[in-house]
Symmetry: C2
Subunit: 578 residues, 2 copies
Amino acid sequence: MHRLRVGIAQINTTVGDFAGNADKILKVIEESRSSGVDLLTFPELAICGYPPEDLLFKPKFITENLRTLEKIIKASPGITVITGFVDSGDDIFNAAAIIHDGELAGVYHKIYLPNYGVFDEDRYFRAGTECSVWEIDDIKFGVNICEDIWYEAGPATTQAYSGAEIIINISASPYHFGRGGVRERMISTRAADNVAVFIYNNLVGGQDELVFDGNGLIVDETGRLVAKGKQFEEDLIIADIDVESVFRTRLHDPRWRKELLLHEEHGWRQIEKIIISRNPYDTDKPPLPLRNVERLEQNAEVYSALVLGTHDYIRKNGFEKVLIGLSGGVDSSLVAAIAVDALGNDNVIGVAMPSRYSSPGSESDAELLARNLEIKFLTIPIEKAFRAYLEMLKESFAGQEPNVAEENLQARIRGNILMALSNKFGWLVLTTGNKSETATGYSTLYGDMAGGFGIIKDVPKTLVYKLCEYRNSISDTEIIPESVMTKPPSAELRPDQKDIDSLPPYEILDSILTAYVEEDKSVEQIISLGIDEKYVRQAARLVDGSEYKRRQAPPGIKITPRAFGKDRRLPITNRFKG
Amino acid sequence: MHRLRVGIAQINTTVGDFAGNADKILKVIEESRSSGVDLLTFPELAICGYPPEDLLFKPKFITENLRTLEKIIKASPGITVITGFVDSGDDIFNAAAIIHDGELAGVYHKIYLPNYGVFDEDRYFRAGTECSVWEIDDIKFGVNICEDIWYEAGPATTQAYSGAEIIINISASPYHFGRGGVRERMISTRAADNVAVFIYNNLVGGQDELVFDGNGLIVDETGRLVAKGKQFEEDLIIADIDVESVFRTRLHDPRWRKELLLHEEHGWRQIEKIIISRNPYDTDKPPLPLRNVERLEQNAEVYSALVLGTHDYIRKNGFEKVLIGLSGGVDSSLVAAIAVDALGNDNVIGVAMPSRYSSPGSESDAELLARNLEIKFLTIPIEKAFRAYLEMLKESFAGQEPNVAEENLQARIRGNILMALSNKFGWLVLTTGNKSETATGYSTLYGDMAGGFGIIKDVPKTLVYKLCEYRNSISDTEIIPESVMTKPPSAELRPDQKDIDSLPPYEILDSILTAYVEEDKSVEQIISLGIDEKYVRQAARLVDGSEYKRRQAPPGIKITPRAFGKDRRLPITNRFKG
């Protein structure tokens, strides 16, 4: 018998929700059992959610996690289950439990702990040192966790050369655009290199600034896709694995035999083999058809990530409705569209807050958008408060020219109105700043930056336009009005103000920002790429000078390789000019 | 010749200020040379400032740091200099340069990289693997960096057992209360254990949320203090070291001889010995007297840390004046006093912003405080704006009871006024929230939380009172009015509001917060300590529910073992109840 029916349960967990996560896990076990699944996998740290951050320092958190594991073990007669949890001994470990027929058969400790980008795993976990291989009914498999699989000669290879025909990796791998394809190629390569079937389970869902995109995979020993799970949705992928050909291929592969010798000499990790009691189940089931899911094109993918990230942040934090200040510009229009797709139009409220400097088009565009999205729409002009402030400050401001103080006051009055509605009705305020603004500080602290979640905070302005076009393209009717997308961007805080007065043109700005913020290129290097020196110096100066603002910005959804947030940790006090 | 004149230059560096840091270093080298110093030390990463965080990912940053090192090497004929810098090879290292007579004699790479609390050094550096010992004129010394010395059988021990008679540790060890004493005892123990003279150089100055307290030390081989530098101030500590007695003690110490054998077997680090050319200087100078500095008592110490942290954040970020909203309460009064001590009374502006709910005492107390501190004082009543908002929101709020929305509006109007003055005149706004408020979210986002720096953010309310008393005790005349300290705390956002209506009494609250926030105790554990269950559950619920607020708070100065900020990284989305 060389066949096994495997299940990849890509579930959407919530950090710290032991009861909720356990319920999900138990339900999928039930469902899988009735589908004849022999071996079922759950994501990394599925029991406690990912990333739990400093909750890991709380002994009670670890205890509840272990208690929840016990519940899952007891609920697993008649099936093999692999799930992430926090193991505890002299230290704590990012671990996978190998549960077989209602018993804990073994535990794997993650060996490679990521401590870069958004990750801080060295802060919490001790690294594992053992690469075990387990066996069910003569089929051998290795289990490892997320980062472990990104190393060429890592635990997967050790396990394969110790006889594992199946390699199971359970992950919580955060999304950024383009990552899914890289992951798929990497896993396909690993499978072919190790002549083993690879089963890749990835978490799905939003957790603060991160979105996990699911997209689980089964790849055969030639690197060919056997099954793929949905992107940005929970899914249970079931497939039949036949390891007969793994054995045959290895037997005839001269490269394999040569490397086997090398690995025997290597011995860099202690190898154990734990035998699980023979598999009592009928594995002679008819094979399932190939199951595939088309990869979303880039704009659709980013849009889906934003919808999922928004939905999960709002719902997992116990909110129902969101409130958005609608300026009639592209940013707030896109935010409103995403919010409606994430939460439904009944749960989104738009409010226009025109001032003496608002163009007539702004209000009508905001209203048209609200009508297109069929959301509740309020209009609250800010003139009264603006006049009150100017009077209150008259004496202190005597003899001073109008400057950014008066401009910011208008943005802050809007922030106050949004927060007053939020406090009165329990609606969470979504901010509308994009990555280009966040990078350059082209925004008002406590003004347009006021709110609970900045859903397009990591979306560059040029991509904002593309996502608006994408959103319109999937609708029969126009959602974001044409006029919103064609007018020149403006904050409308003084007469005839345009973004271009304060910033480089967005196409140029965004390419500078990618180089400066995401690639750590110096000003000199960027100029040498042929970009106008004036714009490069202006952008770099603005980025360097806005760290204090970003530190007080609400969280937002990461969609680029380096977002502002945990991904990029710069001091505020800093005299270095990049 | 077994004598050496050593200098500990505890300087105040600025992150990224290569030119400024180099100027300081060169000036101290000049001064030390003329004082006959043979061996001069500077703090960890003195060349680039500490902690540089993600600036370390910028190649240009590393290059400028290496160029600055070259400048210092060239400026060091006739002296031995040890300074922190970032070394670069296959990877980057937190390093110490051993410079001798205008040449780079060697480099040490930090072995233990802290990656807990506020530290992220695994994110940046590769750990060193070599414990070298150097020699000047027959005197052997080992150099290591900060965390290295906190390990009992760490690099210092290896260096001592390889013959080093002097151990030099260069540090950037952040202050929290009580830490100085622990450090002094630890170093004294290490010195006696290793029968070696220990020279400890610690950075001084504020960098964002951290304050480094200096307080350099020289301890002889019996653990006795030879010299100590100032706390919270730059200092150059010069002392003569005689290693004759190290040799004698080791010769007669049976424990030393036995452990020597053990260490020879140990061999866990590669040991190198690099011989520096014989010391050309006259070391036969008359010995200097013992130099000591009394440790400040706890309130004075915390107060000094806050003054230094405030001064450095404001000045290093290029601001001159600060603005503080004065409510007549203890928090804003303490903040104003610290600001005056940090920046001078000409650079502090207080503004009272009374509302319809302010008690008459509030305004007069604020005014009296301003008079005592001799600072500029403005009064801007908020009623006009408050009335304007209520009218603007009348329709939306129709049929709703007054709630926190109206309360927060008042706090936000005050935030707007402060920010308008800040934007108009370039004054940085200091927020006045204490740790008890920050923990429980007893504050208004964009209201009293609006500002650039929260100087007492890590000071629990009960300590706020003590610091006020301390500040009054060191003045001939009363600074913080008696009435400020005796009235019951109130936010004055509705009639007869008192903090006690929303929070446990502060003495109880602060002890719960220490246990829950700093010690990761569970609610059940805290109740079992004998604290009223009602208060414990209330406080824990408030702490858990305020993570989103803290995420948007300005930075503030760490003075406790665990501050909110880099020290405590909790998810916002989190269903765990501690």
